[in-house]
């Protein structure tokens, strides 16, 4: 397996996390703090362009130029290991890193642009970033600490059944760098199991896309929903309580749209969507509202909280 750092990490903010599920960032920070992972967050970091990029609005060159700028900031801050909260950021940054390292003429023109834009300090030097050893998803940083996490678990979750939706842009884009087998990824299940929860390791449509498809959710809603529905159906069949996520875009798709999709299929799914960081934070005793941020979720998370509480209560008595 690739080597995963636990210090000098720039926790890379995500636009969708910022405004839809800020609890993902606070949960990740909570976990990083608990696990003694050394990281910073930078207010200067821009977005990765991901949503625009995959809506075909951004061109590859502009995306790579903005990545170079963000890489420059990470380098200046002495935190060259990037940990993303979103699978799209992960894929976009890795791709840009590869282009900057391998295509000399592109690197040169981007550096010239950075120079001309008055930010010569942010210029990209060859091999500044290694896509494999500097760019990670936050989940990977946590995966590396799975034993420590196991020791810190504070609640009993054994009655809960979870399944995972590993984001396509984490697993499939740079599939050689994905932890485990991309054809049946287990990163999130492994983390969840460390908290004593039951996991559904395989279910039909496990490696399906969430159905968001960038433009498809907005331009071809029905198509988009029929794909999301396939997965929801299978999860329902497997009686899953929580679907774990590693990408705010997928989470948005399954959480916010769940009700409408259910209506069109004449059913209710009631599958709670949590980012794996949010889930782990809960397991480690974080406050559901002040850390995990469940108040921004559409499918209410409270029913599961009741289960957890009861268990703790039973424990104390």
């Amino acid at each position: 397996m690739k080597e995963i750092p636990d210090k000098e990490i720039l926790l890379f903010k995500s636009c969708l996390v910022n405004v839809e599920y800020p609890g993902v960032e606070s949960s990740t920070r909570f976990l990083f703090d608990k696990l003694g992972i050394e990281y910073i967050v930078s207010e200067r970091q821009s977005c990765c362009t991901g949503l625009g990029h995959y809506s075909d609005l951004f061109d590859q060159f502009s995306t790579a130029a903005l990545a170079a700028r963000n890489f420059g900031i990470a380098r200046e801050l002495g935190h060259k290991n990037i940990a993303t909260l979103c699978a799209t950021c992960y894929a976009i940054l890795k791709k840009s890193g590869n282009i900057l390292n391998k295509q000399d003429h592109i690197r040169d023109s981007i550096n010239k642009i950075l120079d001309d834009s008055g930010v010569p300090d942010l210029k990209y030097n060859l091999e500044d970033m290694d896509s494999r050893s500097n760019i990670f998803h936050a989940v990977e940083i946590l995966y590396n600490k799975v034993d420590e996490i196991q020791d810190l678990v504070e609640v009993d979750l054994s009655e809960i059944k979870v399944a995972a939706h590993h984001a396509c842009h984490y697993c499939k884009v740079h599939h050689k760098d994905t932890i485990g087998n991309v054809r049946d990824p287990m990163v999130m299940e492994t983390l969840a199991r460390a908290c004593g929860v039951q996991t559904v390791n395989w279910y039909d449509r496990k490696t399906n896309t969430c159905g968001n498809g960038f433009r498809q959710r907005y331009m071809n809603k029905d198509l988009s929903f029929s794909i999301t529905a396939e997965k929801l159906m299978s999860l329902k069949e497997n009686e899953v309580d929580i679907l774990l996520h590693m990408c705010p875009n997928c989470q948005l798709q399954f959480d916010r749209n769940q009700k409408v999709i259910g209506e069109s299929f004449g059913t209710e799914f009631n599958i709670i969507c949590l980012n794996v960081s949010q889930f782990l934070a809960l397991a480690l005793g974080a406050d559901p509202y002040k850390v995990v941020g469940i108040q921004t979720h559409t499918v209410p998370v409270e029913p599961i909280l009741d289960k957890i509480k009861q268990i703790i209560h039973a424990y104390e008595v």
Binding site: V19, L223, T298
Partner: protein, 201 residues
């Protein structure tokens, strides 16, 4: 019937794609054996007429009508095909490149026009955001609570101990300069123009 004329280079389109910045190193277009593994797992193929294997075939046949064919706009960019293709081909990347070609030749601009607000937000804040064009439409599906969330966002973030979302002004300016020089700003203007035309029509 189609006649294959001597001296016709049918690999031109494939070569253009292979050389594109978006294409992975060693993309296996030329090695495609038309096995259909990509299609067997493709979500778009399951629900539409789209077929990634056929896209690759048409590229290898130098079928340039593909660029203006609506079919390429069905792909989800889910990279499933890319992750299983036994010869390391990627219908996903092929589609991305074809769409860029469509945008360059004009036909694709209306397709991305609805997303131009994403670019506006980037220039304004250095951040991405769901284009506001879709707001009402989303609100209907997501429910009123979502609107409340937008209103309460600042407070919630504060409660979670999270800092401000916005970048310092200097950085936003830098980003604007960079995007100006990469040609993005112009590109965005052209897309916007096309959107306005669409609206006025």
């Amino acid at each position: 019937m189609n006649t294959l004329k001597i001296g016709e280079n049918t690999f031109e389109l494939a070569q253009i794609i292979i050389k594109d910045l978006k294409a992975s190193e060693n993309i296996g277009i030329l090695k495609c054996i038309q096995c259909g593994m990509c299609t067997s797992l493709c979500p778009a193929a399951r629900h539409t007429d789209y077929d990634p294997r056929e896209i690759v075939k048409r590229v290898l046949d130098k079928d340039e009508s593909l660029i203006t064919d609506d079919i390429i706009w069905n792909c989800f960019y889910c990279y499933t095909c890319h992750s299983v293709c036994p010869v390391n081909n990627s219908a996903c990347e092929v589609n991305q490149i074809l769409r860029q070609k469509a945008i360059d030749n004009g036909k694709g601009k209306p397709k991305i026009a609805p997303f131009s607000a994403y670019g506006d937000s980037f220039l304004e804040y250095g951040l991405g955001a769901i284009p506001n064009d879709f707001f009402d439409h989303l609100l209907k599906d997501y429910g009123k609570e979502w609107l409340q969330l937008k209103v309460d966002l600042e407070d919630i973030r504060e409660e979670l101990g999270l800092g401000p979302i916005l970048l310092p002004e200097k950085d936003v300016n830098d980003i604007n300069k960079i995007l100006e020089k990469t040609g993005f700003t112009k590109r965005l203007e052209r897309v916007r123009r096309c959107k306005d035309e669409g609206n006025s029509r």
